[in-house]
Amino acid sequence: MASMTVIEAVRSTLDEALGRDDRVFILGEDVEAGGVFRATEGLAAKHTGRVIDSPLAESSIIGISIGAAHYGMRPVAEIQFADFIHAGFDQLCSEASRWCYRTRGDAYLPMVVRTPWGGGVHGGQHHSQSIEAYYAHMPGIKVVAPAFPADYRSLLRAAIEDPNPVLFLEHKRTYRLIRQEVEGAPAETVIGRARVTRNGPDLTIIAYGLMLHESLAAAETLSSEGIESTVVDLLTLNPIDRETILESARATGKVLIVHEDTLTGGLGGEIAAMIAEHAFEYLDAPIRRVAGPDIPPMPFHHAMEDFFMPNREKIAAAARELAAY
């Protein structure tokens, strides 16, 4: 297998899953024609009857997937943009996340909800949102947000094979931006584990999705200035990999958390609390966060959008301050 983009990684993994298991099917808006990002291009013709156009109704896409998973199918739902998933919030929060718990495992839901998220694409308020904090707050649902194509492949496969509901977040800015040689890529990832992507003793940067790439770029710049950072790719946002986070925080004593989601109530707060509770004695500086400002994401005009989005420069600036502390 050659090098591939994120969208190719998603498409090839869906194709393989449909080919491997005839209980797998795709349900979503425009998926028969390939979907607006072409994640399902060519799949309807190849897997007859198992790539299904849904009506334009997000609660139904998720609610019907719940029923089908309960029955024994392996639905992979697509929500066209993460910004529109909130119409299905109730089905995820009130139903999917509690199905196994409220039956003590007598019933369970092997289902995936895939959705493109994130900004930097001139998408304005409703094609740019980071939704992960709402949904990572639901025990019972796993939330995954990879950064590299190889991880998209292994984690999407793991999500489809998982007996639990998995919200699979695909950063839409990276779909065609990020390319990777998937053969010989880092070992098969599993849901629930983060990965140390770069090692350095001076500070730890924790990020996911597009911000992981920005953090790596910032780390490169910092390295040329003599600051060596560790970069942790979170990969799974719930359940979060506490061990990897704490281990790295203890090793470097300085932590910078990066997300494009708005600051207040974002996942950074949870990660910071976790470190403060369990690794306080190891810290040499206050925990820093680089995040979107507390305004409704995200303004459309490119100048305002750039103002909103964290990037490699903002990350490097915060990291320098932290390193000097």
């Binding site: 299904i52 009506p55 609660s59 139904s60 019907i64 089908a68 109730d90 196994c100 019933a107």
Partner: protein, 340 residues
């Protein structure tokens, strides 16, 4: 067993006018009565301070038992709503289990004390786990129907809600999807006149829930939900049709909530006394008994014997359930995720 031995053996032969056999008619009476007596005992336990909450199906037993009997147990799925004790009994729930559920006992097979009472679910019996959020289950039913259609599995899903719940988006999204794909689903609405305190005209601009089917190009029917036999006669052909690829059905059973919304509700704030008196005369269980007795299907002594049997079963179930273990505090943990 009390005097069962003295009773005449029921025939399995269909009684033409009823489309039911003697045995089925007896089962119908038994299940309606069992649901009623269980609900009565549950309310008594609530008033004694031994049960935190009761939400009952009193007045809806015919609508529930008649419809559930039209399904194939072990094959068909039920996605019920909280009043559907009668349906659950037809699908195999025992009186003891109903009491375990009321008391949130450790061994309640619905949710093991994790949900409020009357939040049903039993995977083995194909009863879909249900939350408090009304109408969400209509979409789950659609998903099961879609899966069954994809697998060419000849089953039918029957899902229920009250008429107030048909105002929610999930109701409409489910009907829409099921009609587009001609899924094998009976959407069964028990119109009991009230959504807590709100009457029909506050919930919908059409006179009948069944009228809503037209917007989805879906088959529909209305039936007197106080008449178990009429309910069976309406639901059974719809089930057969859905099973044979005829597409979904919206059925509205016109019935009446004879009790307040729940053990916490005071219906005197909004319900005219006279109205309640009128509907009480149409009680689904006494009218059933009167009909089969008048038609000479069962001798009075046999019906009396069923009543005694049910009384005893309920008394025993409550006594037994009260002695059963509660969950341990730590039982709150675990099973957040399925591990295979």
């Amino acid at each position: 067993m009390t005097t069962a031995g003295t009773r005449k053996k029921r025939s399995e032969r269909t009684i033409e006018e009823y489309l039911l056999s003697e045995q089925q008619l007896e089962d119908m009476y038994y299940h309606m009565l069992l649901a009623r007596r269980l609900n009565e005992r549950m309310l008594a336990l609530n008033r004694q301070g031994r049960a935190a909450f009761v939400i009952a199906g009193v007045g809806q037993e015919a609508a529930q038992v008649g419809a559930a009997m039209a399904l194939k147990r072990g094959t068909d799925y039920l996605a019920p709503y909280y009043r559907d004790l009668g349906m659950n009994l037809v699908f195999g729930m025992t009186a003891r289990e109903a009491m375990l559920n009321l008391l949130a006992k450790r061994d309640d097979p619905n949710s093991y004390g994790r949900q409020m009472p009357s939040h049903w679910g039993n995977t083995e019996r194909r009863i879909v786990t249900q939350s408090s959020v009304v109408a969400t289950q209509f979409l789950h039913a659609a998903g099961i129907g879609l899966g069954a259609q994809m697998r060419k599995d000849p089953l039918v899903v029957l899902t229920c809600c009250g008429e107030g719940s048909t105002s929610r988006g999930d109701f409409h999204e489910a009907l829409n999807f099921a009609a587009i794909h001609r899924l094998p689903i009976i959407f069964y609405v028990q119109n009991n006149g009230y959504a807590i305190s709100e009457r029909n005209e506050k919930e919908m601009p059409v006179p009948n829930v069944a009228d809503r089917a037209r917007a989805y190009n879906m088959h529909s029917a209305m039936v007197d939900g106080m008449d178990a036999i009429a309910v069976y006669q309406t639901v059974r052909p719809a089930v057969d049709q859905a099973r044979n690829g005829g597409g979904p059905f919206l059925i509205e059973a016109k019935c009446y909530r004879l009790w307040p919304h729940s053990s916490d509700d005071d219906d005197s704030r909004y319900r005219p006394k006279k109205e309640l008196e009128e509907w009480t005369k149409k009680d689904p269980i006494s009218s059933f008994r009167a009909r089969v007795e008048t038609d000479g299907i069962f001798p009075k002594a046999d019906l009396d014997e069923i009543e005694e049997r049910v009384e005893e079963e309920v008394r025993e179930a409550a006594q037994w359930a009260l002695m059963q273990p509660d969950p341990e505090p730590e039982d709150a943990l675990g099973h957040v995720y399925k591990e295979l």
